[in-house]
């Protein structure tokens, strides 16, 4: 049996530090919102001419008075991602750019993807993203509150907050782009992390009923160990699937799968080291679950 409980305090300090650092990052550095949430224009361009490269594209675009233009390689050497804010919300901007590029490059390039999100839509998308995440946290809280005792719901929700905040903190630290698919990933993380916590909690509750003489400090450790191989196997297969998406699923899914990978790692960790320590700190005992059983 691994003595997870020996490190409860150490990891609580670490988690608190991670959350504080993430919050500081989110407040002071902020998130790198993509055009979905900031508004603007995105063009994915594929060239079949070596004349077209990041610097020549940057030159051409900077001559077009589009404001701040970002040009980056996208996956392979002849794919580029161009983003700008389109502040004036010009209507025929894509056509104008095409005409301009045709002059210098002829037709040795191709727009593979064009996205244009107006300011109104991006504000709405951001709002509905925030609502979706808040709503999912609230619903998880209610669900676990119905299924378990309040001490358990508090532990599960703290673990969820930890996973969401630290994942976003990593995105902020490395200035990774937040777009619609990242919101989808965060929601899935919420579901997954909850899933992981529930399995351990289910065992904790079962053991609480079984043993009256074991303190919660020991009992959580027993429960974590009993469910450990399941935790490892499920995390492993989920990570295998996600790694396959990350490495082979194409550029568009990279951000999404990265967020999910982070979420699964943090989710597995927090189920053990946050959710359970809350139970210990709230001195959950056999009485907690038996009282609940009586009232039901």
């Amino acid at each position: 049996m691994i003595a997870f409980n020996k490190y409860y305090n150490h990891f609580n300090v670490l988690s608190s530090a991670l959350i504080i650092i993430s919050l500081l990052l989110l407040v002071f550095k902020g998130l790198n919102f993509g055009i979905d949430f900031k508004g603007g224009t995105l063009i994915e361009l594929r060239s079949n001419d070596s004349k077209i490269n990041v610097s020549s594209l940057r030159d051409k675009f900077s001559q077009m008075n589009l404001g701040d233009v970002s040009v980056k390689k996208f996956g392979s050497d002849n794919d580029f991602l161009i983003k700008f804010e389109n502040k004036d919300n010009k209507k025929n901007i894509i056509e104008e750019i095409k005409v301009n590029l045709d002059k210098s490059f002829g037709n040795s390039y191709d727009f593979r993807r064009v996205e244009n999100v107006g300011p109104k839509v991006s504000t709405e998308l951001l709002k509905s993203g925030v609502i979706a995440i808040s709503l999912s946290l609230a619903i998880m809280l209610i669900y676990i509150w119905i299924r378990f005792e309040w001490q358990f719901s508090l532990g599960a929700i703290l673990a969820l907050f930890h996973d969401v905040i630290v994942t976003l903190g990593v995105f902020s630290l490395f200035s990774l782009e937040i777009n619609l698919s990242i919101i989808a990933a965060v929601l899935t993380i919420v579901g997954y992390s909850m899933n992981d916590t529930v399995v351990i909690f289910d065992r904790v509750r079962e053991n609480l009923r079984k043993y009256s003489d074991i303190k919660i400090f020991e009992l959580t450790n027993i429960s974590i160990n009993e469910t450990l191989s399941r935790t490892i196997i499920t995390s492993a297969t989920t990570l295998l699937a996600l790694l396959a998406i990350y490495f082979f699923g194409g550029e568009i899914l990279k951000g999404f799968s990265l967020a999910m990978i982070l979420g699964v790692v943090f989710g597995t960790y927090s189920s053990i080291y946050i959710a359970n320590t809350v139970l210990v700190r709230l001195r959950v005992s056999q009485k907690t679950v038996l009282r609940e059983d009586d009232s039901k």
Binding site: E115, T227, I233, L242, G249
Partner: protein
């Protein structure tokens, strides 16, 4: 938990085979229409354009209020009530009446059978609200009045949008209402939406009006620019004919001077009016005005009584074709603005499909190898179940002709990774049971029973996340929510019926062979 009746086994087999068959209709062609269904590919996979249009209702409201001032004036004139100082300000109409009449006017507006202010019994609201500000009377649209106005302009606009898109001839466009002032247009397979965009961006409000020098024309005048921006002309506000009078419009080649023109034919009312105007206005310039800009202003030389005419204005063949198309499909009730556009080229779509399939195969393979190494025989059972699960998932998506997007493929891969969870929970539990239980049947039965609450709780949490995502997400993300959510049900089915069936058959045969797992 381990017992299966014969009937149940037959049912499970048929059910699974049915979905495998439905799923395979994506690869083969079936004659039967029930089986011949296919998963729809989202725009991000098949390529195409997604346009979100917003109707700018401000001009419509202004116009309605403008008309309303006339209506109010005439309505009360018949009742011998004088309306003074009527004006529009910030979407409100203000006017004065004498103090004796004030109450009567307010009552007329607030009467449920009011002739001038329609009452919507269903919403318990009038179209207009009236308020005595002390200085004057104020009228504005009620909340319900505004909603009705917006919905009706949306109804008109979607019809015109549909006609214009159909004229361009893309395959299976999808045109839907969003809220009460937006229209969603999905154009699968359309690589370059430039033409559709420019067609939808025009209101196509066509009027024929005389150019006038007389600044105090009875109907008022306005100064308008020519389309090429070189000249201006003063034009009367009196409309001779408008786009509504057109029966048809076609691009033509004028053989005399080799110019591209748009020829049109008018309906009876239009022909009559056009004939009258051209007979009295010989020598005058008739301006053809489209969306507030003059296309051309030819001099009237003859009376045109046939109801047919032509517009010239330095068109290219393409611009003449587009103008004819716009005129045929009619004017939009209000300008449209494209507030969101997402276009994916077909080759990127194909690349995404390929990448998705490779990721799915590799993810699947990794999970299968892992499970086999970890659990051997029971790993094999899990893997066979996983394959069937995948087919059932595809079968369900096919049956409902769901839309598969790139994030949707990611959802399927994720389902593969998470689907083994339930089986793992069960197998681990059985292992624990076998620690103090020598009877295999009892241990397996206990494993299934005791793991059930954890499995159900765990799956419900993921399902809740998927449901929220489905209702809050848009487009591709919705596709992810669908595959993730459906995946949970198919996983539970395959774990509790298929994997359990295999397990029970194996255990029944080998119950006396020591620890089985």
């Amino acid at each position: 938990m381990l017992y299966f009746s014969k009937l149940r086994i037959v049912f499970i087999t048929i059910f699974s085979l049915l979905f495998v068959l439905i799923a395979s209709s994506n690869l083969f062609k079936f004659d039967d229409s029930f089986f011949d269904k296919k998963i729809n590919l989202g725009l991000d996979l098949q390529g195409g354009s997604y346009l979100l249009l917003e109707i700018d209702n401000e001009p419509v409201i202004e116009q309605k209020l403008q008309n309303l001032t006339t209506t109010i004036r005439n309505f009360f004139k018949d009742k011998d009530i004088r309306i003074n100082n009527i004006k529009i300000d910030n979407q409100n109409i203000f006017f004065n009446v004498s103090d004796d009449n004030k109450q009567q006017v307010i009552e007329i507006f607030e009467d449920e059978n009011s002739e001038i202010n329609p009452y919507y019994p269903r919403f318990k609201s009038h179209q207009l609200e009236i308020e005595d500000t002390g200085l004057n009377l104020k009228i504005n649209f009620s909340r319900q009045g505004l909603i009705n106005l917006k919905t009706s302009s949306q109804d008109q606009a979607i019809e015109i949008v549909r006609r214009r898109v159909d004229e361009v001839g893309t395959n299976e466009p999808n045109i839907l209402k969003r809220g009460n002032s937006r229209i969603l247009v999905e154009l699968p397979g359309l690589d370059d939406p430039m033409r559709v965009k420019s067609l939808l961006g025009k209101t196509a409000n066509l009027t024929f009006r005389f150019v006038t020098q007389n600044e105090d024309d009875r109907f008022g005048v306005e100064k308008l620019e020519f389309e090429d921006g070189t000249q201006e002309a003063v034009v009367s506000k009196r409309i001779i004919i408008s786009g509504e009078n057109l029966l048809d419009a076609q691009p033509k080649m004028d053989t005399q001077n080799n110019q591209t023109i748009v020829s049109f034919t008018l309906d009876r009312v239009g022909a009559k009016r056009f004939g009258k105007a051209t007979s009295t206005g010989i020598g005058k310039q008739l301006a053809i005005v489209l969306d507030g800009k003059i296309i051309s202003a030819p001099v009237v030389r003859d009376t045109i009584a046939s109801g047919a005419g032509q517009i010239s204005g330095g068109f290219t063949f393409q611009s003449a074709t587009d103008l004819a198309l716009l005129l045929r499909s009619g004017a939009l009730p209000a300008p449209l603005e494209i507030i969101e556009e997402r276009t994916v080229g077909p080759d990127l779509g194909q690349d995404s499909i390929n990448a998705g399939m490779i990721a799915l195969s590799i993810g699947f393979l990794l999970v299968i190898i892992f499970m086999f190494v970890k659990y051997r025989l029971f790993g094999l059972i899990t893997n066979v179940t996983l394959v069937i699960n995948l087919f059932i998932l595809l079968g369900v998506l096919t049956l409902f002709e769901a839309t598969l997007t790139l994030p949707g493929i990611a959802g399927i891969i994720l389902t593969v990774g998470m689907a083994v969870d339930a089986n793992v929970l069960i197998f681990e539990r059985i292992k624990e049971e076998l620690k103090d239980e020598t009877n295999n049947i009892l241990a397996f039965d206990g494993g299934y029973t005791k793991s059930r609450t954890a499995i159900i709780d765990a799956n419900i949490t993921t399902l809740l996340a998927a449901v929220i995502l489905f209702f809050m997400g848009s487009g591709p993300v919705k596709g992810f929510a669908v595959t993730l959510g459906v995946g949970i049900f198919t996983t539970l089915f395959s774990v509790y019926f298929i994997a359990r069936l295999f397990t029970s058959l194996y255990v029944a045969k080998n119950k006396n062979n020591g620890k089985l797992i």
